[in-house]
Subunit: 121 residues, 2 copies
């Protein structure tokens, strides 16, 4: 259960980009980014807020990606959590996180990387 959890809060993102506003473009972006990072999708669920904004999760064999957008304030929060149960997935998690950040282009970001679990509990 040892793993790494990357948490981001992004500010100053373009408020009118499709991935900020609508569920399907955000889902497509996330699925492609997960696949490009070499992580394994086992399901996803995205919800469209009206008139705009999205919350969603891609559940992974390695744990999950969760993302929430607030177009009204140009902000996004993101979680990438991967377990390193059978192999070290840290670099894949970092690649996924960075790919999404590159797309949203925040003017300002907060970032935390949290170590979780461990072999001794």
């Amino acid at each position: 259960m040892e793993g790494i959890h990357l948490l981001g809060e992004w500010y100053g993102c373009p408020e009118d980009m499709p991935e900020m506003l609508r569920a399907e473009p955000l889902r497509t972006l996330c699925v492609k980014a997960v696949e490009s990072a070499g992580l394994t999708i086992v399901g996803d669920r995205f919800h469209q807020f009206e008139p705009q904004g999205v919350t969603g999760a891609v559940i992974l064999a390695e744990s999950h990606l969760a993302i929430h957008t607030w177009p009204e304030i140009g902000s996004v929060t993101i979680d990438v959590y991967v377990c390193n149960y059978t192999t070290d997935n840290t670099k894949k998690a970092e690649a996924l996180f960075q790919a999404l950040e590159a797309r949203f282009q925040p003017e300002h970001a907060r970032f935390q990387a949290i170590r979780r679990g461990g072999r001794d509990g």
Copy 2:
């Protein structure tokens, strides 16, 4: 986007409980616990690993619950993340977390509460 994120890793949980082994009992538990805590479900996705084990997420108007089980080692990881965008949901998040922990009865637990975001970014 200010919010609270509760992260848990639980060890020594009963390996044979239905919620540890199978997706549907875990989904039912999570949905009921979210509703009891007064949070708002907008979708969910749970995946059954074979022969056993589950990964899933309940996406909330307030952000998300994510949970992963490892029956082979009696362990669970859990995330409860709520934004306090329009109201302080911290107590609801804590109630949800505690309800699930009470059900899984870990012998040993790791816990972190992470403050996210903030009005100034």
